[in-house]
């Protein structure tokens, strides 16, 4: 009886990719100097290209390849303006206005976490303890999205490949194995080389996911007979931004899918990219820079890198909408049409995987593009694992017990221990929550929380009059408004107020107003502190 199982070649390609990644990252360990400063911030030695690639790779999560294609399939052409072009302007703004100044302050005073800076700037230990659970709480869902994202990509891809070994999972690799491999690889190089290994690994992974995105784009367009033919068969409602209702008939029945983007959502979404100003893992990457000038390439090239990744992905998402409007140039096979039409909104992230599976029959190419998707996921995971280990070590243990009580080697060992614990916790949580429908919607809530806290860092850096009480008021106002809207959304679903306004705009406004009003009526920071940060 002939073996009808799909080829396992994509899995072999992925194993080769992961081995290469591990090999490169372990080579970078040879450059590790063994000090805590090197483990946390690579001794401020990272050059322009590595900084660009590591910052870009960290900023672009699984959402860059998988989510952007799915969002364009769901919402249409406005996806790029909504999420990508605004990020090109605002991310670079944050790098320029916040990143460079924090790098200078961090280098001068030896900070390796945001909380260390905020504690000194606002003369308050308590502010650190208030910020700690908030920052960690906002990073954790971000981590889970990455690991669960790997399950959602690898599960369908490997379906039927291992019918004897994993019969209980329809022959696909089970989540426990996928998670163990992904988390294990990332943990290995972070454990060994800290932020230096993360920078090298991120550079490799960023190059891989950028190249593989373009490769998938080229091959899928060829399948349609070129880009002009591909766009011709796209659904017309997806080529404009005006919202409309699309009626879809599938095996599951007839339902409507909202297409387009409400104008107020498009406007207020501009606040979301501000989140990079408060990402703790990005703060740590900024501090790895060799000099302020190192930032120049990152500031200038970041919008172009976004363009290279997002334009092809959005176009692929638009082409996939052809399943709603069959035309002579439509090349989608019937099974693909049936699956895509029936996808609930929470699962549209599977569009890229489905396009690969049905349109690209070469298993090596499928393996390579899937490696690109995993690269995008892992290039964010490593920085987040490392930053949480750094925060626990520095802001809780060393801050409470006193840095002088530990040798430098003990501090590195402690950070490694925390990283292992965080990876294990993330792995277990991801297995428990893998079936959650709206897990990807948590990303925008995580970003919203960080973005709404931007007034805190901006005032800390540019407003001498910003006070300790103002900082507390800002954080409390943001948390209160964020929790209110999060609860109103049903704890994680897509949610807007006032005909399309994103909650982040109101949370940001509340935080900024609280900071300004309370600072103006409370005691000024000491002259010593003002002189320290505003010399």
């Amino acid at each position: 009886m002939p073996d009808s199982s799909p080829s396992t070649t994509p899995v072999i390609v992925l194993c080769i990719y992961l081995s290469l990644l591990l090999g490169l990252a372990m080579m970078s360990k040879r450059l590790f100097r063994g000090t805590s400063k090197d483990y946390f911030v690579a001794s401020h030695s990272i050059g322009p290209f590595l900084l660009l690639m590591s910052v870009f790779g960290t900023t672009m999560t699984a959402f860059a390849l998988v989510g952007s294609t799915g969002k364009a399939f769901q919402r249409g052409v406005g996806t790029y303006g909504l999420m990508a072009s605004s990020s090109g302007l605002i991310h670079a703004f944050c790098f320029f206005m916040i990143g460079i100044k924090l790098w200078a302050i961090g280098k001068k005073y030896g900070y390796v976490t945001q909380i260390q800076f905020f504690r000194n700037r606002f003369e308050s230990n308590g502010l650190g303890y208030l910020l700690f659970p908030i920052l960690v709480g906002l990073v954790v869902p971000y981590l889970l999205i990455g690991v669960i994202g790997s399950y959602r990509v690898m599960g369908p891809l490997t379906k039927g490949m291992f019918p004897n070994v994993f019969a209980g999972h329809e022959g696909s690799l089970p989540p426990w194995l996928i998670g163990a491999v992904i988390c294990g690889v990332v943990l290995t190089y972070i454990f060994a080389g800290g932020s230096r290994a993360a920078a090298w690994a991120n550079t490799f992974q960023t190059l891989v996911f950028m190249c593989m995105g373009v490769l998938a784009f080229y091959l899928i367009s060829q399948k349609f007979g070129g880009m002009a033919e591909a766009i011709k068969q796209a659904n017309p409602a997806h080529l404009v931004r005006t919202p409309s209702e699309l009626e879809v008939t599938s095996k599951a029945g007839t339902f409507t899918r909202e297409v387009g983007i409400p104008p107020l959502m498009f406007l207020s979404y501009m606040f979301i990219p501000l989140s990079v100003g408060m990402f703790p893992h990005l703060f740590q990457h900024w501090l790895t820079a060799k000099s302020a000038k190192t930032f120049k390439l990152t500031v200038v090239a970041h919008p172009i890198c976004i363009l290279i990744v997002w334009v092809p992905c959005v176009l692929m998402g638009l082409w996939a909408t052809g399943v709603f409007a069959p035309s002579p140039s439509n090349v989608w096979p019937a099974p693909a049409i049936a699956i895509m039409k029936g996808l609930p909104d929470a699962s549209v992230g599977a569009i890229l995987s489905l396009s690969l599976r049905f349109l690209i029959e070469n298993p090596i190419i499928v393996g390579l593009v899937t490696a690109g998707i995993l690269a995008a996921i892992m290039s964010s995971l490593d920085s987040q694992f490392l930053c949480l280990g750094t925060i626990f070590t520095n802001d809780i243990v060393l801050h409470s017990a006193g840095k002088d009580r530990f040798s430098d080697g003990q501090i590195v060992a402690m950070a490694r221990g925390f990283v292992v614990a965080i990876v294990l916790l993330t792995y277990v949580l991801s297995l428990l929550l893998q079936g959650a429908q709206n897990v990807f919607d948590l990303a925008v809530w995580s970003f919203s929380g960080f973005a709404a806290l931007t007034p805190l860092v901006f005032a800390a850096l540019y407003w001498r009059r910003a006070t300790k009480a103002g900082a507390y008021a800002c954080v409390i106002a943001v948390v209160a408004t964020w929790i209110t809207y999060f609860a109103m959304s049903g704890f994680g679903g897509e949610f807007t107020v006032m005909n399309g306004v994103m909650p982040v705009a109101l949370c940001f406004g509340a935080g900024a107003a609280a900071m300004i009003i309370v600072s103006l009526v409370t005691q000024l920071p000491s002259k010593e502190t003002v002189d320290k940060f505003f010399a």
């Binding site: 303006g81 090109g88 302007l89 302050i105 880009m227 002009a228 498009f266 302020a292 500031v299 200038v300």
Partner: protein, 77 residues
């Protein structure tokens, strides 16, 4: 480059992001790219050029020297 000019261009770019005049336009540029996508792809290039000019003419060079000073204002080297 003076700060008001930088701020002015930044505000202009932020406003230009709201391309309401293309909201209903389904036309294709070069026969394959929807005009709304083409506009925002061009916008990304404009943002890169803007930040390139800022990097060339408004870079905070003083920060580097300040960061390299010791906490007492002397050179850390």
């Amino acid at each position: 480059m003076r700060s008001p000019i930088v701020i002015g261009i930044f505000v202009f770019l932020a406003l230009a992001h709201q391309d309401f005049w293309l909201w209903d336009d389904p036309s294709l540029v070069f026969g394959f790219i929807p005009i709304a996508l083409f506009y925002h792809a061009s916008y990304s290039i404009a943002a890169a050029i803007f930040w390139g000019l800022v990097s060339k003419f408004a870079w905070p060079t003083y920060l580097e020297a300040w960061a390299d000073e010791g906490e007492d204002g002397t050179s850390a080297d």
